[in-house]
Amino acid sequence: MSAEEPSVADEVRTTVTVDTDRPWALVGLAAFWGWLLVRWTNDFLLPDGMAFPSEQSFFPAAPFSAAAESLGATAASLGLVGAPLDVLAGLLGFVAGAIPSLPALARGAWLTILLTVAGIAFGFVLAVPLSVARVYGGRGLRWLSLSYTELIRGTPLLAQLFVLYFGLPLTQIIREVPGVGVGFVPATAVWVAIIGFTLNSAAYQAEYIRSALESVDVGQLTAARSIGLSKVDGIRYVVLPQGLRYAIPGWSNELVYLIKYSSLAAFITVRELFFQAESIANDTFRYTELFVLAALFYLALVVSASLLMNLVEERTSVPGIGGKRQA
């Protein structure tokens, strides 16, 4: 693991849309999640005696490699005509190579999801007051909120993680907390990463929510105040419920980004998806295969997240606000 690889953390985050209108994608996702859940239950929940060995894949690799070999031989004997068969053989070979790494990647995916969900959720809790302060606060609060978001958005996420992990005595403090790293409770580095993603995502989410709040008509708060609601209650009961609905598309983007950016946690020793893929690749020298495999995992997570957010958007929409762009 080296920190020299180009940092992608300060890239501009732009819109990603995933077309979800494809049934085969749903079938694939269902299989993926079914397998993940069974794998996690087996590895994390079942007692050792009852469980399938946690390092061993559910699927045998041998039939795939055998098939790949025989197909490859057939293809070679056919010459040029055998090219399609050769591709198929390559694919089967890829599957055979991938199967032994699946258990480790499933464990990595667990941490990737944990980091992302925790970062989004805790970040959201911070982002709401940050954005409200930015739009409705006095001069001091506005300045504080702006400074925070500028600082976070203006520096690379990787640098932020390094400061938290190496630069601050955070790790010593967390290590002292009883229970950390025992059983289900994630290890110190994971906590540092969660703190890092929370602080980072809060700034980005605050920007999305701020612009959503600003798009709520000022007359809404005026009307709220005219019936005697305090400013805080007016924001809480009238402006935020609308603003947060407007923020959902931006929020979906943030979720997708966080899934991918969570790979940076590997640089502070968190054994998430990217870390697992890279360490297996380092041991086996099968770099291409493992990174392609990791990419497929990320893709499955990203598409799932988009589907989920579409559902959230649909469920929370009311006539006139959110959901499908309507008249």
């Binding site: 008509d217 007359g219 809404q220 005026t222 009307a223 709220a224 105040r225 005219s226 019936i227 005697g228 609601l229 305090s230 209650d233 009961y237 009238v238 419920p241 609308q242 609905r245 009311v318 006539p319 006139g320 606000i321």
Partner: protein, 246 residues
């Protein structure tokens, strides 16, 4: 008995003095109409009464309470002053019923079930018993404005302020809103209405105040103001209104 007293109210935005010493009084049950050209300060005057805008000098009393008194809680004051807006400003994410219950529940602390009953009654009063579950985007302008009136009425205010309640409506929808306002006037509600609806002014107003460049130029009952205005400026304005088909 005086319900509202506005005394020598001044208000400036930057260098522009929008209200230049406005004074008038309303008794309980009065319906007064505020007329005047665009930019003359009508909306500003209304907003100064419930302190959506703060005055620079002068005084306002509501039912004996100094609106700008040091001990006056604006949120309590506003429960006594209902306001209806030109562009309705219904809470866009709430149904008609929820628009009315929000204040009952969050301001007055009325329990859910009672709030629902009371809101349903208010909606029925404005003729929207069948629309309780509709969202603002699903209602016509006239229906939205009637929800806006019900929302304000639910707080059981002492005074209702209307800021051009029909001017954003298609002509064929004006009638249903005016009807509700007239009904309200007959039930004895004290109403201060900014409107150029001559029909409403003529039939429902006790007094009409003509505001021009931040001053009340002339006040009086409709027949006096419409038939024999004392000031050229009033005459000019009213003639203009009539020829515009109002």
């Amino acid at each position: 008995m005086t319900l509202l007293r506005v005394e020598d109210v001044h208000k400036s935005y930057g260098d522009e003095e929008v209200l230049k010493g406005v004074s008038f009084e309303m008794d309980r049950g009065d319906v007064d109409v505020l007329m005047g050209p665009s930019g003359s300060g009508k909306s500003t005057m209304l907003r100064c009464i419930n302190r959506l805008t703060e005055i620079d000098s002068g005084d306002v009393w509501l039912d004996g309470t100094p609106v700008y008194g040091p001990d006056t809680d604006v949120n309590e004051l506003r429960q006594d002053v209902g306001m209806v807006f030109q562009d309705f400003n219904l809470f866009a994410h709430l149904t008609a019923l929820e628009n009315v219950t929000l204040g009952l529940k969050r301001v007055l602390g009325v329990p859910e079930a009672e709030a629902t009953d009371r809101a349903a009654d208010h909606l029925a009063q404005v003729g929207l018993a069948a629309q309780t579950d509709s969202y603002p985007a699903e209602l016509s302008g006239g229906q939205q404005q009637r929800v806006g009136i019900a929302r304000a009425l639910a707080m059981e205010p002492k005074l209702m302020l209307f800021d051009e309640p029909t001017s954003a409506l298609d002509p064929e929808l004006v009638g249903e809103v005016v009807e509700v306002m007239r009904d309200l006037a007959e039930r004895g509600m004290t109403m201060l209405v900014v409107s150029h609806e001559m029909g409403f002014a003529r039939s429902a107003a006790d007094d009409i105040h003509f505001l021009d460049s931040g001053r009340i130029v002339e006040s009086g009952p409709p027949e006096q103001l419409f038939q024999r205005p004392e000031h050229d400026r009033t005459n000019e304005f009213l003639t203009g209104l009539q020829s515009n088909g109002h």
